[in-house]
């Protein structure tokens, strides 16, 4: 049995449905599950907005002291922190489980993932690096950005049900209980930066270089896309290897209401410069809108807290002043 799952709140269910539909079409033998960081009983969705996929709500998977985790984290941190807890829940509750594949909700799968399934018979984990080739300019994102946000993109991870993968997931869970924060100065970037350790601590990790995996704004400097007469998408990489079929595309930072921007997180390309990618984004936009994105996005997530406003900055500064002077004095000695 292979489980493919995603994690999102109700406002992203159009994305999760789009991903699920693509999986149903390309990989019908997978069991697709939506992990919901939200509460259906509080949202009371009309029947046509209830996805035709199993949904598991985050408060039902027995995360120890989950309310405290909600207090600690903002919505981004919370959504990413629960990833290994879902994986562990699947390991525990599905005895026939052989493989688990996590996808971010803003992904479309284009092919049967035969290579991935084959690799997961041999490897404990499959990870995709943000980039397989360096960037040649300092536009965003470049080689430097990945140094403190993570070499691998955690919009995707494939895991086998074996001791190594379970050991890794347990370690990851322990880290994310308290340290799934964004604090670059202290070596933290949500769940993603931690995964740098996976190939250092474990032997049996496949770092996937296939150019058709996890294609996104962070690696299109090294990949070009094309569609053949049969509607099949192909990826040309910087290697001499033949073009490879597009496996899955990650629409990270794309906003269907701002269809002229590839991603809000990148500055390298306009669609004018990357016409090869444009039809893929138009396809995504059409599917999202058909899957009721307009309606889902109106639902606020129950776990969203008001932003933490830092008040009294001047008072804080006055209180800190003698302390910073003391530190400077001691460091001068």
């Amino acid at each position: 049995m292979t489980i493919a799952f995603t994690i999102c709140s109700i406002n992203y269910l159009a994305q999760a449905r789009t991903l699920g539909n693509s999986l149903r079409q390309t990989n019908p033998d997978y069991t697709y599950i939506i992990g919901l960081v939200d509460r259906l009983d509080q949202a009371t969705l009309p029947p046509d907005l209830l996805p035709d996929y199993p949904i598991i709500e985050i408060d039902k998977i027995n995360i120890p002291d989950f309310p405290a985790m909600c207090d600690r984290y903002d919505i981004t941190e919370l959504n990413t922190a629960v990833k290994p807890f879902f994986i562990d829940y699947f390991y525990t509750n599905y005895p026939a489980l052989e493989q688990i594949i996590y996808f971010d909700p803003d992904i479309i799968v284009f092919q049967p993932l035969h290579k991935l399934n084959q690799d997961l018979r041999q490897y404990s984990m499959v990870l995709t690096p943000h980039e397989c080739f360096p960037t040649s300019d300092w536009e965003r994102p470049n080689d430097l950005h990945h140094l403190n946000t993570g070499i691998f993109n955690l919009g995707f991870i494939g895991l086998r049900n074996d001791d190594t993968a379970r050991q890794f997931v347990n370690w990851w869970k322990q880290r994310l209980i308290y340290e799934c924060r964004i604090d670059l100065c202290n070596g933290l970037f949500v769940d993603q930066l931690w995964v740098n350790f996976a190939p250092v601590y474990h032997d049996n990790v496949l770092v996937e270089h296939h150019p058709g995996y996890n294609v996104a704004y962070w690696n299109i400097h090294e990949r070009t896309l094309s569609e053949d007469a049969d509607g099949q998408w192909w990826v040309t990489s910087l290697t001499d290897e033949p073009d490879q079929p597009l496996q899955f595309f990650h629409y990270s930072g794309y906003d269907p209401y701002k269809p002229d921007a590839i991603s809000k997180y990148q500055t390298r390309y306009t669609f004018g410069e990357r016409m090869d990618t444009k039809p893929l984004f138009e396809l995504y936009r059409t599917r999202l809108l058909a899957n009721h994105n307009d309606r889902y996005r109106q639902y606020p997530c129950v776990y969203v807290k008001p932003p933490n406003v830092l008040r009294y900055k001047r008072v804080r500064k006055v209180l800190k002043s003698p302390l910073t002077k003391l530190i400077a004095f001691l460091e001068r000695q």
């Binding site: 690096p129 430097l144 009294y312 460091e331 001068r332």
Partner: protein, 335 residues
């Protein structure tokens, strides 16, 4: 061949490293040993002859660039900024050399390097991680390793190849101007850039054998046992491996390196580490010259961050915690 990079003050260590390489290099016993000097050679006493070839940085970097780099970096950052350049130059100067080992001057080879040359038959670049299993509670923690990079830049091996050339060009392009230690900006010397190497360069290999690059930071996960003429290292997975290369950074000089406040390894007089350190100290001392000891580094005019000890360290650490608390504590609005 062997390449190391050091200041005049570190020359005795570089010579000891060279001696150990000469002893254990096997088929490469007559191979060149090159010392890149990130310092001015003027401080060397008249008539001084080095047992190994010295290559002063001024022969590699034009004077105006040297002045700029020196002004912007600490001595540690400056040495890091020049490393890819020295490695590329070593390959250029010695066209017959195929395999190059870069080692920090704190290193010592302790076993025949046959396995190292053997690994380079199938790989172009060899890297060693600081640790190979999850750290127990203590300082520094895993987050800190993320700040400094998970692969150590103190021990690298290269095979002459187009991939190695590409790696050195790529590395130099980034490191020359971005060798700062600035964790918030994702920077840490030449070292953190190595995080990309196993992904970008397909024939790079990460060596997790416990006998490769044993050091202060990974001794808590490894056990050393003496044999007749070498040491055996037991790693986290229980495997036994001869001790090939030991890095004495932070052991010979506790104020050097990123592990100045580590609290996992506690040394006793008779521990294997103390034995290794005593032997290493002798190897270094036989090369000592008084003038070297007092010579400040000529390049890298920014001050190195201070290493505090005892009560000062404790006070600064807790004061920083209070500052962080004042920066982030939630305060309700007063109406």
């Amino acid at each position: 061949m062997l390449l190391t990079i050091c200041t005049v003050r570190q020359l005795p260590q570089a010579f000891a490293l060279g001696d150990s390489f000469r002893h254990f290099a096997g088929q490469a016993a007559t191979a060149p040993i090159l010392i890149g000097l990130v310092d001015s050679a003027d401080a060397l006493p008249a008539g001084f002859t080095s047992p190994y070839t010295l290559l002063p940085v001024a022969e590699l970097v034009p004077a105006d660039e040297l002045a700029t780099l020196s002004a912007q970096y600490t001595p540690t950052e400056f040495a890091a900024a020049c490393k890819p350049l020295f490695i590329a130059e070593a390959f250029r100067r010695y066209p017959d050399v195929n395999n190059l080992v870069y080692a920090d001057p704190n290193g010592q080879f302790l076993f025949p390097l046959t396995t190292l040359w053997h690994k380079l038959d199938t790989a172009t670049i060899l890297l060693t991680p600081f640790v190979t299993r999850s750290l127990s509670a203590g300082e520094p923690d895993e987050k800190f390793l993320q700040n400094i990079g998970l692969y150590s830049a103190d021990f690298l091996a290269f095979r002459r190849s187009s991939e190695t050339d590409r790696m050195l060009d790529w590395w130099d392009e980034r490191v020359r101007t971005r060798a700062y230690v600035n964790f918030c900006a994702g920077l840490c010397l030449d070292q953190i850039w190595l995080m990309h190497v196993p992904v970008f360069f397909r024939q790079a290999r990460v060596i997790r054998n416990p006998g490769w690059h044993t050091a202060l930071w990974n001794l808590p996960e490894r056990t050393l046992t003496p044999e007749a003429d070498h040491w055996l290292v037991n790693g986290p997975a229980g495997e036994k491996d001869p001790l090939l290369f030991f890095n004495f950074k932070g052991l010979l000089n506790p104020n050097e390196g990123f592990f100045t406040h580590q609290n996992r390894l506690r040394m006793s007089d008779k521990s294997p580490v103390s034995v290794l350190l005593a032997t290493y100290r002798q190897a270094v001392d036989q090369h000592k010259l008084p003038v070297m000891n007092s010579h400040p580094a000529a390049y890298g005019q920014q001050p190195e961050p201070p290493v505090l000890r005892g009560w000062r360290y404790a006070v600064v650490k807790s004061t920083r915690t209070v500052v962080r608390f004042l920066d982030t504590v939630y305060l309700p609005a007063i109406r």
